[in-house]
Structures are given as C-alpha cells and as structure tokens.
Amino acid sequence: MTEASPYLGRAPEAVDMDAARKTLDAGKLKGVPVAVKDIIVTADGRTSTAASKILEPFKSPYDATVVTRLKEAGAIIDGKTNLDEFAMGSSTETSALGTTVNPWDPERVPGGSSGGSAAAVAGRSVPVALGTDTGGSVRQPAAFCGVVGLKPTYGRVSRYGLIAMASSLDQAGTLTTTVADAATVLGVLSGDDSLDATSVDYPVPDYRKALTGDVKGLTVGLPKEYFDSAEDGLQPEVKQAVEAAADDLRSAGATVREASLPHTKYAVAAYYIVMPAEASSNLARYDGIRFGDSVERDPDWRGTLEDVYLQTRGRGFGDEVKRRIMLGTYALSSGYHEAYYKKAMQVRTLIARDFERAFKDVDVLLTPTTPTTAFKVGEKADDPLAMYLNDIFTVTANLAGLPAISVPGGFDGQGLPIGIQLMGPHWGEETVLRTAHAYEQRHDWHARRPE
C-alpha cells in the first residue's frame, strides 16, 4: 500500500490563510483557496481521475458547475483531493493513487470517499473543500477527521461535472471547519442549473442569516432505531456524545423528543442494491473508446470491439468498483430485476415515508454520523460488507434526498473525533445549519486541530 497525499496538486499562487479566514468570516469567498475532490471535473489543465486508473490520463474540457460558481465568487481552486475510486468506499483505501491517512492518527483512515478533502481541511491545508456524498461520503469523513461536512437536499446543488456514481443519490457537499463556512459556500453553490435536469429551481436564501445561535422553538427528534440496535456496533462514547448533544440543544431552547424511523435497519440493504445498479449503468461509459485508459493506446494491440471493452475495463477498474458493477449488473439482469432492484426501490419509498412522518412532529433529527470513530487502515479493507455497514446512519439521507450535516461532537478516549449528524426535511438546510451552529457554539471542538 502506498500512502498518498490528500492533495493531487497545488496552485502556485501563494495563499494567505489568515486573509482567507477574514474573508470567510465576512461571508465571502474572494481569494479563498478551495480544494476539490477529484471526482469533480476541472478544465484547468489538471487531470480529473476519480482516483481510477481508467481515468488516469483524463483532462476535462469543461468545469463542473460547482467549480464555475466558486470561481465566479472569487475562490481559488487550489488543488484536487484524493478519494476512494469513483467515490466507492468509506476509507479512501480504494483509491488507485494510494490511501490517505487520518491527520489525527496516521494509522487510521480519514473516512471516505471524500477522505482527501476532509483530511486537507482537518490539517488546515485549506479552509474549504468540496466533496460528493452518495451514501455518506462527505459526512462520514467529516466525522472521522473532526470537521463540518454538509450534504444538501438532492437537487439543491448542480451535479453537472460530477463524475457520476449513482445519479439518484449523488450530491455535491462541503467540508469546512465551521458551520458558518458551510453556510457561506452552500449559498454560492446552490441554485438551478440548466445543465443538470435534476437540479431544482428553489429559492436560495442567505444561509448565514439562519445562524441565530439559538434553537428556541425547534423540536429535535432522536430516532430510537439509530440507538437501540446492538448489531450496528454503536461505540458507547459515540452514543454518549449524541445524548450530550441532545442535552446541549435542550438547554439552548429546543424541545427534544423521541422519533421513529422503523425501516432504518433495511437502509443499507436497499442502498447496496440501488447504488450499484445505478453505478453499473453509469460506469458503462468507461469503454476504452472515447476517453481515459484503453488497451487501444498500445499501437501493437489487436482484438475485436468486445476485447477492447473487456480488457480495458478488466485492467482499468479496481476491485471495489468491479464488485459494485457486478452487484448492480446482477440486480438489473433479467430474472433478478424484480426480486432485487424493484424491491429495493420499494423499500426506499418506505424509508422516505418514515422521514415524512417523522418531520410532521420534529424539525430536525439528531443521530450519530457513524457507529464508531475512525478505524485503522486495513481493518475493513478485505471485508466489503463490514465496510458497507459503516454507512448505516448516513445512507438514509441519500435514499430520501434529505439535507444532513456532520459536526464535531467531541473526542473518544483515544483522542479521535466523534461526528454528530443532524438531518432535516427537503429544503430544510436553514434549520439544519441553525441547529448545527447553535450546538457548535457551545464547544470549542471545531477549533481544535490535529498536532
């Protein structure tokens, strides 16, 4: 295993971090360096690899809409960050470029798939990074690295220029050191985009105005299914941190009550059918014909069209990507489609309905982001199912298309960061940010940095 820097490049401009901090505190992005997960394409001459060998030579002729919007706001695209190959992973270990380590403990993973972005922000190499979140890929690494990770409502931010994994679940998100910075960047990224038919024309408020510092009048729900299942392997210190967060929010003026999301236990199973099905279809475009790696780049190579596909894809994709393509192809194939894909999409409906029902009684849901703090490099690398179960508290927001944030919630006995998750109804970013901010202001955890 090789160890990769969270960064894949850095702009030559000297960046004044103190000045960037002042600009961000004023709610602006002019001159602020931003690192971009390398699954978001940039037309700046850097490669856009998705951390895959199959895209190693690929340079995009266009910028993703999120990159365009950052540039228009004056931000500097400072570098591309490492990730699990095609964002498929929860540890950044599946990257073809080598793994990235956790800045709090180099023996541990930074989480994934936006592990490079989270590690770069946690290590204060850059104040803001973009990630993408299909099943927790912004929030889980934010939790593992002790930073703020925001996944907006599906459709809030354009997906144009995000190299697609699962199109009905993918969403761009932010990694920052504070909730206020997340609000600032979200305001810049949000809005309808004619280049992404799934982006939604919904008013973009001034998200920073939502950060009132209190939660008076809000009702916070604790979904019991996120706490009472022994098989989730919920670390006691993580559970205690969420309970302490509930107490904090109560003393900040919120009403806290129990909530119920009865289909939670089926979420990972439904997700690991829906996501691979969409991924197997999306990744069909890497065929060795139009761009990226190809056996045809060797002038002496001979074979048929099908040989180009088989051999290029066979050598270009890593194990986890192949696994998900296989799983998705199986679930979509004749004879299994009804039993797997349709069934998973029906369970998805039931999960979304659970949330609709819960949000009739509460404004925001409070949960752990992950069952445990960061695990060790290699610990789950050979056990795909154990790795998938790490997504248990985050996949639900993607299946239902909801906004969710992970904020620093203290440290465990080993000094590793704990993440607290807050989820809101569709377009409920203001409530999610307001609650997260009020909680953040009661501690200094977000200001601590790894040695």
Binding site: P57, R313, S333, M345
Partner: protein, 95 residues
Amino acid sequence: MEIDKQTTRAVARLARLGLSDEVLVAHQAQLSTILGYVQQLNKVDTDGVPPMAQATGQVNDLAEDEILNEHQDTLPVDSPALEGTSIKVKGVFRD
C-alpha cells in the same frame, strides 16, 4: 445465498469486465455474501408500495432540443481511436 460460478461468469460478461479465473472466484464469494445480507429486504411487506427512483418528486424537466454545448471540438480529443473528428472503433466480429 450461493451464487454459482457460471452465473458470476455470465454477470461479468454482461458487465463487460474481463476477469481472470482467480478474480472471478473472489467475486463469486463476495457477491454471495452481499446478496445474502440483502435477502433481509424480503422481510419487508412492499405490497402496493410504488418504487422510488427520484427523491424530490421532480418529473420531466423539459427543455428545447437545441445544440448549446460548446465542447463539440474538444470532447473527442482524448479518444485513443481518433481519426479526424471521428472515432474509429474495432470490428465487432474481427479486429
């Protein structure tokens, strides 16, 4: 749940993944484990529940069929089989 080797090979072919025998066997075992876990979905009563493919209820965002994209000249440049502005692919039955 046991997925046999023949099915695994058929799925790899459908997915256009050229896998060695050794890799195929590894995938066979992993597919079996993951699909075994997924079987729990059968415990959920989904009679009459509509399948959900879109999370925000959006339907048919229509637009005029116009050529807007400015990337026509740059997009195929990275192809390994470029001839002029076209891509020449290998034969289906022979190279």
